[in-house]
Amino acid sequence: MKRARCGRAWEAEAIEDGRLDAQGAASFERHLATCSVCEREVDALARLREFAQNTDVRPLSPLEHRRLRATVLRRANEGAVVESKTWRRSAAVFGVAVLAVALAVIWAHPERWFRRTPVAAVQSVPKTGPSFELRPVGDAVWHTESTSALTRVALSRGTLSVHVEHMAPGQRFVLDLPDGELEVRGTRFIVDASLGRTDRVVVTEGVVTLRLKGAPERRLVAGETFTREPTVDAPAPASRVLVATAPETVSRGPSREADKPTERGVSRTSSGHPNGATIAPADAALASGDASSVVEGSASRDFIAAMNAFSSAAYLEADERLAAFTVRFPAEPRCEDAIYLRAVIALRRGDRAAAEARARDYLGRFPNGLRSPELERLLAQHP
């Protein structure tokens, strides 16, 4: 049977479901009073609801409820236990799978995972020290020590032009200064020291780390110069012009000369010196014509003249000049060298008694002097 139609019949279902607001519901209620179609629709929906509600279910008795409740909790608990066991089993299977894959990868490429002791690292410490060149300017006094990969040059005073070639890993080159030290990693520089302190460092290539007592560490790169400020109680040294020229082979490191002291004018004084200590009494720069660029004070001129005589084996003249130097400049630090060299000259001239007398003079005036060990050994030797 076909139902009669009304344009507002859908509102019967809407009001049944609570979809109409208060105003809409009131309007539809007024419409119901005049529309039999919508009225029948509302009645039909109400009957349908009442009809469907006939399916009321018999409730469980308290005992049945408790039994069913216990069953639910038991099954839920079993589910939790089973789930836990399943999780553990899954985790175990996953772990075994990961282990198997890892073992397969290791088995396929054992060298990638079990590398031997890095022999290269053990052997990386070189057996020899760095290659270097020392070029004294004027009356530099220095001492070289090489132990394995470490080379230490102790500059007591004077000016050294130093060129250290780029070093291999593990090699070190340290220049001990009267008031600190200087470490390089392959560079070219000039250092000037006097009166127990460092006066100037001029870096022409590479990088230098300068560590002076009482001062923070400083890093000097190529083109930079460190100059110590003059102090009141310590007179400033005679002015010097430092020339950064390409180094001549005046003193070489072990890699070039295999620890042989080949310095000009040094080999004559290095014999018998412990640890290969050297003195550079001759100014190679002056002798080679570079002296025109070096302005020395009167003390230095006298001393250089004496050293020139010494270098040319004019021992008598050298002895006289050195003696005059010690008289004229008794407070000059190079007096120590002058007295020492006079002992050496006496020894080379065969005058052992004079040599011993000058050695005792040296030790009396400079008991902790740089040449004390040598002169003490000289006195201990029997003729």
Binding site: D17, G18, F51, A52, T55, R69, V72, A76
Partner: protein
């Protein structure tokens, strides 16, 4: 219309109960069972679940809660959400049952016939209830769920939509078609 939230019997809030169940507290599951077992049973029965399967589906609904508790949105009452879980369980059950029946029919070469009225129903005189059951059983699952939730369980459209996981207008559409089919079927029976 009675709201689902109004029937909540609160001692411990439903949200707290479900939070504890999610953490593995089975005693809270027992409390939830005490609170809503009757509602779930009636809802499943109105969805057409046979009495022989009713206890089992009630159990399955509450067991499902242990794994679905994290999905509760924290509304004041868990009743609508719980009926949604029951509807899902029933749908799953009916699919399984339908597959089993289809296999049996295929094996026997038989044709599906309408479920005859049982002797018990005849003896107990539950004709009206049987008619309703048959009428509801003729509806699709989706239409039956919408009709039972809104018309019989008193859920609002929003609560039914949340319980069934569908848009609100979908609920109204399903409800409208369910009423149309039920009225047509009842009219046919009466004629």
């Amino acid at each position: 219309m009675k709201s689902l939230a109004q029937s909540s019997k609160t001692a411990v809030p439903d949200a707290e109960l479900l939070s504890r169940i999610h953490a593995g507290d089975l005693e809270s599951l027992g409390t939830l069972f005490d609170r809503y077992e009757r509602d779930v049973r009636r809802f499943l029965a109105r969805l057409g679940v046979q009495s022989a399967d009713l206890d089992d589906l009630v159990q399955l609904t509450f067991i499902e809660v242990t794994s679905a508790a994290h999905g509760f949105d924290g509304r004041s009452s868990a009743r609508g959400w719980l009926l949604g879980v029951a509807a899902t369980i029933n749908r799953r059950h009916r699919r399984t049952f339908a597959r089993m029946v289809a296999r049996l029919n295929a094996l026997a070469g038989a044709f599906h016939a309408p479920t005859p009225e049982t002797p018990a129903e005849a003896v107990e005189g539950l004709e009206a209830e049987a008619r309703v059951a048959r009428a509801l059983d003729a509806l699709s699952d989706k239409k039956r769920e919408a009709f039972v939730l809104v018309t019989l369980e008193g859920a609002s459209g929003e609560e039914a939509a949340a319980a069934l996981g569908v848009p609100l207008n979908t609920v109204w559409t399903r409800l409208h078609h369910a009423r149309e089919e039920l009225r047509a079927q009842l009219l046919e029976e009466s004629s």
